[in-house]
């Protein structure tokens, strides 16, 4: 009897799945303060990605295929001043992501996924070359635990210090 009960118990343990929350994590820009002027960003440090209502992607005013965005973003953030068309250094590099209002959400996530993927790729490469670990999550796991009371404090994460995620979810265009 106890054997059967054990089998049942193990069966239920195995078939029960607890769904975990997965998604693209983002930090929204804080509410605009009218009294403070927004900081000036040099044009070369800003990569403007615009998605029109029909799903076409314009990077710096030129059409680009979805699969090329990642490469373009990586080039922008890892440029480090060598090409005058791209950013001066990774700390100053900003990616601006705008869409028109009637764009379906699915396309929005597709493009956002590519941009986030570009950052993840850069972090992985940097962690591998500088710290000799397999990828960025491995490096992150080796860090001492953050104080949970200060969520904004990234601790001693040198990879994120080098390539901070500066993605501006810009104010949408009216209409």
């Amino acid at each position: 009897m106890a054997d059967i009960a054990f089998l049942l118990l193990i069966f239920f343990l195995l078939v029960t799945t607890i769904n975990t929350e997965k998604g693209i994590y983002m930090q929204l820009p804080p509410k605009l303060d009218e009294t403070v002027e927004p900081p000036e960003i040099k044009d070369r440090n800003l990569l403007v990605i615009l998605v029109s209502n029909d799903g076409n992607v314009l990077v710096e005013g030129e059409f680009m295929r979805l699969e090329n965005i990642r490469e373009e973003v990586v080039r922008h953030i890892t440029n480090d001043g060598s090409d005058p068309g791209y950013s001066e250094n990774p700390e100053k590099a900003v990616v601006s992501f705008k869409t028109e209002r009637a764009l379906p959400y699915e396309r929005y996530v597709e493009v956002l996924d590519e941009i986030k993927g570009a950052y993840v790729d850069t972090w992985n490469d940097y962690a591998r070359s500088e710290f000799g670990v397999r990828d960025y999550p491995t490096y992150q796991a080796s860090l001492p635990d953050d104080d949970p009371n200060t969520p904004e404090d990234e601790g001693e994460d040198l990879v994120k210090d080098r390539f901070p995620l500066k993605l501006s979810l810009a104010e949408p265009d009216p209409g």
Binding site: M1, A2, A5, F6, L8, L9, F12, T20, E21, K22, G23, I24, Y25, M26, Q27, L28, P29, P30, K31, T99, E100, R101, A102, L103, P104, Y105, E106, Y108, V109, E110, L112, D113, E114, K116, G117, Y119, V120, P148, P151, L169, P172
Partner: protein, 146 residues
């Protein structure tokens, strides 16, 4: 003489415990099968998009869920926070503001249907910014949608 009449009981006085594990197991399984984990009832249709550069959120306690999709009854676009549909978008601001007072580390998980226009999403995000709820998660599906 009196000893002659004393009844001698042959039954043991202990309760037999051999089947106790079985009984406990039965109870355990009974409760496992009948327990329903509390789940939010979705009042809107959300078919999540897919993405690859995703992160897992471990601290489930911190998450507040916002669902944006077609209302199952009326068929119009609607927004649901946790359990309830909301009538006006500014209600999001109030709800999140109150929640943030309790738990400043709150993460808002946005479960948005694939076909919702981003304009709607921006309106929701604008409300979140007003409430200073800046940590958001665009929830995505891990498997192919049915």
């Amino acid at each position: 003489m009196s000893a002659h009449f004393k009844k001698k009981s042959k039954a043991k006085q202990e309760i037999p415990t051999a089947s106790l594990p079985d009984i406990i197991f039965m109870l355990l399984i009974f409760f496992m099968v009948t327990t329903v984990l509390r789940e939010t009832e979705l009042l809107v249709i959300t078919r999540l998009p897919q993405a690859s550069a995703v992160e897992k959120i471990d601290q489930k306690r911190l998450i507040q869920y916002i669902y944006v999709g077609e209302d199952k009854e009326s068929g119009e676009d609607a927004v649901q926070i946790n359990d309830a549909l909301i009538n006006d978008l500014p209600d999001i601001r109030d709800a999140m503001y109150r929640r943030l007072l309790d738990e400043p580390r709150t993460i808002v998980s946005l479960n948005v249907d694939r076909d919702i226009e981003t304009g709607m999403l921006y309106d929701v995000q604008q409300e979140l910014r007003e409430a200073d709820a800046l940590r958001v998660n665009y929830s995505t599906a891990s498997e192919a949608p049915q």
